[in-house]
């Protein structure tokens, strides 16, 4: 089972060519956001403001890293549970977001929105935050610094390992979705 190399940003065609069960190595940019950042982003969008970064073609990684040691770009940085972001995700996919990454299965509404707009859900290995951090080469603050570990960062990653867990065609690797 070989790995597929992916470079961000992703086009809709590229995303629709991915299949659940494929393993990928991502190089490029990932935006971090979790519960509080999602709540703020969606609130901003609902009141007519632009999101804090252009979502088109991007991947949001659900992560709240540990503080970096001096000379390290980031601390431990593994995925958090994806389904907690389910209430917000369809609104972001509608604005061109092409991928989300977390751990564990997503709900029906998200799967439907992924089919409609053309997006995939990546699973990274939960509890492998030290290993995954080694694939993160730089981290740059984008928004909401007051949220601390929950702020939005732009991460530059090299060959970040992940699995296509749920694809843009409604297929999924989980047994009990």
């Amino acid at each position: 089972m070989a790995f597929v190399g992916l470079h961000t940003p992703l086009s809709e065609d590229e995303v629709r060519s991915l299949r659940a069960g494929m393993r990928v190595l991502i190089t490029g940019v990932l935006y971090t956001a979790r519960d509080m950042a999602h709540s703020r982003m969606v609130e901003a969008i609902s009141s007519g403001e632009p999101p804090p970064f252009d979502l088109e073609g991007q991947i949001i990684y659900y992560v709240g890293p540990t503080p970096p040691r001096p000379k390290f770009p980031i601390g431990s940085a593994g995925p958090t549970t994806g389904s907690r972001m389910d209430p917000y995700t369809p609104k972001l996919l509608a604005l061109g977001l092409r991928g989300t990454m977390g751990k564990g299965e997503r709900g029906k509404e998200v799967i439907e929105a992924m089919k409609r707009y053309g997006a995939v859900y990546f699973a990274a290995v939960g509890g492998a935050g030290a290993l995954l951090a080694r694939h993160i080469k730089d981290a740059e603050l984008v928004a909401y610094p007051d949220l601390g570990p929950e702020a939005i960062y732009r991460l530059y990653v090299e060959e970040f390992p992940a699995l296509i867990a749920q694809d843009a065609w409604g297929r999924n690797i989980y047994r009990y979705p």
Partner: protein, 280 residues
């Protein structure tokens, strides 16, 4: 009467916080290696290989095992003939957590209020449980508990008629519904009996036992084995990627209960089981 300096407790707690977040406990490490030998799903094996490599990297002491370095849960056994000097026991424990999380570059994951959600900034307060025992002992068991697995935990107030079958069904269903979310392979702590709050506590205490150590009562030891085998036949597998290793262990802890009650609690622990015990 033996005396222990509060400052010593601060130091011990701080060290434990750091140690558990960088060094995976030996019995869990062994269980994960064994899981890799047994697992035949390709994706499941891939996940386990990453988890084992992750433990090796974390042990170098620069990057914690997991970014969710948890809320700290402390079980204290304090002898009634022991005297803490130079400060309060509770404040010493909280200060230890504060220092450990600051100096160990660990994430601050505690909010002051459950609905208004402002981060306390130092990972306190820890959840502390005290038991007063005879003698001069001071025992501290500390765990850093992540929310991914804690959120998949649950409790049911069953009735005596539900019996062993009702308990079995609840435990297995709880793990099945959790799927890949709590970072399987998980360790399942099961509390049976007591009342509402004691039952939950039993399930959490069960998580402190080493992997593979069976309940001393053969009746419950058999139940643990049967639950483990049933959970591993669910096919969830490591990370929910499919496979035969969904749980590394199931531990049952029981307590007497009311004639009308049969409480059962399931506390799920992710594969990154971070805990340690020490006697001062």
């Amino acid at each position: 009467m033996r005396e222990v300096e509060a400052g010593r407790i601060v130091q011990v707690v701080a060290e434990l916080c750091v140690r558990v977040n960088y060094c995976l406990v030996e019995d869990v490490l062994r269980a994960l290696k064994d899981a890799l030998r047994r697992e035949d799903s390709k994706l499941g094996r891939w996940a386990l290989e990453q988890v084992l490599e992750n433990a090796r990297i974390a042990r170098e002491g620069k990057l914690p095992l997991c970014q969710d370095t948890g809320i700290v849960v402390v079980f204290v056994r304090v002898g009634q003939d022991l005297r803490i000097v130079g400060g309060s026991l509770e404040e010493a424990i909280q200060e230890g957590v504060r220092r450990g999380y600051r100096d160990g570059y660990l994430r601050k994951s505690v909010v002051r209020d459950p609905l208004r959600r402002e981060n306390t900034g130092d990972n306190t307060p820890a959840v502390v449980h005290y038991r007063v025992v005879p003698g001069e002992e001071l025992g501290i068991a500390l765990m850093a508990k992540g929310a991914g697995s804690e959120n998949m935990s649950g409790l049911a107030m069953l009735t005596p008629a539900d019996g062993i079958e009702g308990v079995r069904r609840f435990v297995v269903e709880q793990v099945r519904m959790a799927g890949g979310k709590p970072c399987p392979p998980v360790i399942v702590g099961v509390g049976i009996g007591g009342n509402l709050e004691l039952c939950a506590l039993l399930a959490k205490e069960a998580l402190l036992r080493p992997v593979g150590e069976r309940n001393p009562d053969p009746f419950y030891a058999r139940m643990e084995e049967e639950l483990l085998s049933e959970i591993n036949s669910l096919g969830i597998g490591p990370q929910g990627f499919g496979g035969r290793v969904t749980a590394l262990d199931v531990r049952v802890k029981v307590a007497p209960c009311h004639i009308a009650s049969l409480p059962v609690a399931v506390n799920i622990q992710c594969h990154s089981a971070r805990h340690a015990k020490i006697r001062i």
